[in-house]
């Protein structure tokens, strides 16, 4: 087995630093590493074994094992393995050597567990606060188990504002956001501009934290969480819903029935279709080309109607429970869906042919927002951004889930790494999705759609699941727990990684291209900002808008 071979390589190289390993299923691998060695092991895995960085998770495991845990997750895409490299830390001194120097993609995730769980990444190159609001007192870590879900620290001060870094020499600062016509959600980019050219930027996001993980870990139960998970994102909600259910299934060894897997596949692809159509429309809108924006939305609408007919809602499908799905695709619905796909294929073909040669769009998008294969590797960029840079990754093929191992499709790859390539990737992926749904409808056998679960889930099991969202891989990490709910649930939406690539993508580009470069990763801020305590949300937004508006108004006046 491939995981065993890799284990041998690591054991030969690191000896006793590899404490124990556990191949939970053919594609899932947990490996406990001595904390002192974690940086070197991760560097080796990332550089020499060519693993893709996925996410780092911090956990407060003190009530159960008496320790803190950190898990660095990597994916071996060619071998179909999702691996968790875990380190156990003492309860009194939760520190771990930072891997961000070796694996730049881990930059945010380490800052996040520093904020939320209070595990110190020693030697982090840029240990600035990432997630917690600026008025949050030091030393209070909301994801620790002794912090109640609805507890606001007494010395919380909502007057404190963010401390910006100094801009580089000779640059002017142009604030972009938190509210901007092309941003659907609040995020703040502080652009350093020299003339018309962007030289760099500082990002402050996490303004719409909703405390989802904390809520799930302390209040909800296994079968409640799918409905919460799908509310992480308004566009790829079903992705999170399925990814969560699969993570629990992978931890508990539950196998959903084949028909349920097909239905999951159909709904996920329906979601990709509507998301890609929406994205192409929005991208045109950002470029000022509203005709195509309207057409993309018109073509998309029947997809929303059929989703509503199948699931009872246009967008929040409420599809999965652990071990199955809730909605059956009856023969009349399948027939209707087929008709809609035929029409969509025809209409999209016309659009694709027209857009494919449109020079105006190309002039605005070629050579803009560059992300090459090296950047993709370093920062762990995902989905269409990676595929547009010639990096051939797609979880549907690399880590097959649901029914993707039973259907045929091509992974669309382009080579230029600019926004135009991302447009082409998404335009062509629409046809692949249509193909997948047709095959599913063909191959689905009648049968149950829910596995009976007669026993409680055993606590302390680790589950990993990756689902290819329209924007890239959504990764869910679950540790099962007591009281009918997980101990730890970590969601890594694709935008979490892709946003980290934005500063590099816009460097040395003109200011006017900022919007489409950012738009091209299809950012989804609320997916990224899914943490933190709910009550503070309004306070946080208020602080930001005030400070920002004041700053803006003052800037205007001085003109």
């Amino acid at each position: 087995m491939k995981a065993r071979e890799k284990e041998r390589t690591l054991r030969e190289r690191f000896g006793a630093a590899i404490r124990r390993t556990d191949v939970t299923s053919p594609g899932r691998w947990c490996l406990y590493v001595a904390p002192e060695a974690i940086r070197e092991v991760c560097r080796f895995v990332f550089r020499e074994m060519d693993a893709r960085y996925v996410i780092s998770v911090g956990m407060d495991d003190r009530p159960y094992s008496g320790r803190f845990l950190v898990s660095h997750n990597f994916a071996f895409d060619r071998d179909g393995i999702l691996a968790a490299f875990l380190a156990e830390l003492p309860p009194d001194r939760p520190e771990i050597p930072s891997i961000a120097g070796e694996v730049p993609a881990a930059g945010w995730a380490e800052r996040e567990f520093r904020d939320l769980v209070g595990i110190e990444p020693k030697g982090h190159p840029y240990p600035k606060r990432l997630v917690l609001p600026d008025g949050w007192p030091d030393g209070v870590h909301p994801l620790r188990k002794d912090h109640a879900w609805n507890e606001v620290p007494e010395d919380w001060d909502d007057e404190v504002t963010f401390r910006f870094d100094d801009p580089p020499e000779g640059c002017t600062v142009v604030p972009f956001g938190p509210f901007h016509p092309t941003l659907d959600e609040p995020a703040h980019f502080r652009l350093y501009v020299e003339g018309e050219t962007v030289r760099g930027c500082e990002y402050r996001g996490f303004m719409v934290h909703r405390g989802i993980e904390k809520l799930a870990e302390s209040v909800m139960s296994y079968n409640d969480i799918p409905m919460l998970a799908e509310r992480i994102c308004g566009i790829c909600g079903c992705v999170h819903n399925v990814a969560y259910a699969q993570a629990v299934e992978s931890a508990a060894g539950i196998q959903p029935p084949p028909r349920a897997e097909y239905i999951r596949t159909v709904m996920l692809e329906l979601e990709r279709l509507h998301s890609h159509l929406l994205w192409v429309g929005l991208a045109c809108h950002i470029l000022g080309f509203d005709t195509l924006f309207m057409q993309a939305f018109r073509i998309r609408e029947p997809l929303m109607w059929i989703a509503e007919k199948i699931s009872g809602n246009r967008k929040t499908y409420s599809l999965c429970l652990v071990g199955g799905v809730r909605w059956e695709i009856t023969p009349p619905l399948a027939a209707e869906l087929r008709g809609i796909l035929d029409r969509l294929e025809k209409e999209w073909n016309e659009v694709a042919q027209a857009v494919g040669r449109d020079r105006n769009i190309q002039r605005r998008t070629r050579g803009v927002g560059m992300a090459d294969a090296r950047l993709v590797k370093e920062l762990g960029l995902l989905g269409p951004v990676a595929r547009a840079a010639g990096v051939d990754i797609d979880c549907r093929r690399d880590h097959p889930y649901a029914a993707y191992d039973r259907v045929e499709f091509d992974v669309v790859v382009e080579l230029d790494g600019d926004v135009w390539s991302r447009v082409l990737v998404r335009v062509r992926e629409v046809f692949e999705s249509i193909r997948i749904i047709r095959q599913c409808l063909e191959k689905m056998e009648p049968g149950p759609i829910q596995t009976p679960i007669d026993e409680e889930l055993l606590p302390g099991r680790i589950g990993l699941s990756s689902v290819e969202a329209p924007r890239g891989e959504s990764h869910h990490f679950v540790v099962t727990g007591e009281n009918n709910r997980p101990r730890r649930w970590r969601v890594r939406a694709p935008t979490y990684q892709n946003l980290q690539g934005v500063p590099a993508m816009i460097r040395d580009q003109t200011l006017a291209d900022m919007t489409i470069a950012l738009g091209s990763i299809d950012p989804c801020f609320s997916c990224t900002d899914r943490l933190e305590t709910v009550d503070l949300r309004t306070g946080l937004v208020k602080v930001w808008s005030q400070a920002e508006l004041e700053q803006l108004v003052r800037a205007r006046k001085s003109h």
């Binding site: 018109r298 809602n313 409420s318 809730r326 016309e350 042919q353 020079r359 026993e455």
Partner: protein, 174 residues
């Protein structure tokens, strides 16, 4: 080349049908499976509290006035219309209606309150047979959700000793 693509784009636009509905000028009936506002049928409800325990939004409260009288209240505030309550209800007392025009300045328009006369089994979670182990009642016996402040009480310290009170309304039973 670009001119041709402009012509093609114009062609796509010109031949376009219409997907915009005349709603609200004309009614837009929701499809059959549509999940709208849940409606509770007091005649069918047996007060098992299965819905209350499996509502992800904690929108359904249960309060035991005494051994025989149980109050079930649907809050209608942040209900996500997920339909889980209707799924787990053993008596089909909940229907996911096709109502979606629920905007109102008075929350009372949406709320539903049922008073139930219970037979005496109280330790079994009023006989709720969960569809799977994951839907099992997390609260058994008497329920004292906070009707006045419309809050779900996750645990009362009285009957789960040694565990921390998670919510902010600690209850004591004598």
């Amino acid at each position: 080349m670009s001119l041709l693509s402009k012509v093609k784009e114009a062609w796509v636009g010109l031949r376009a049908g219409r997907v915009t509905l005349a709603y609200p000028a004309a009614p837009a009936p929701a499809p059959e499976r549509f999940r709208g506002r849940p409606i509770f049928d007091a005649a069918k409800c047996i007060g098992c509290a299965g819905c209350a325990n499996n509502c992800p939004a904690r929108e359904i409260l249960v309060y035991d006035v005494c051994q025989e009288i149980r109050i079930l209240k649907y809050l209608g505030r942040r209900c996500t219309y997920c339909g889980r309550c209707a799924d787990v209800c053993p008596e089909n007392a909940i229907t996911m209606s096709r109502e979606f025009e629920t905007a109102t300045p008075r929350i009372g328009d949406l709320q539903q309150r049922i008073e139930l006369f219970m037979s005496t089994c109280q330790r079994c979670g009023r006989c709720f047979d969960p569809p799977s182990k994951l839907d099992e009642l997390k609260l058994r016996g008497y329920r004292f959700d906070d009707l006045e402040n419309e809050r779900w009480i996750f645990r009362s310290s009285a009957y789960l000793e040694g565990q921390p009170v998670v919510d902010d309304v600690p209850l004591e039973m004598d």
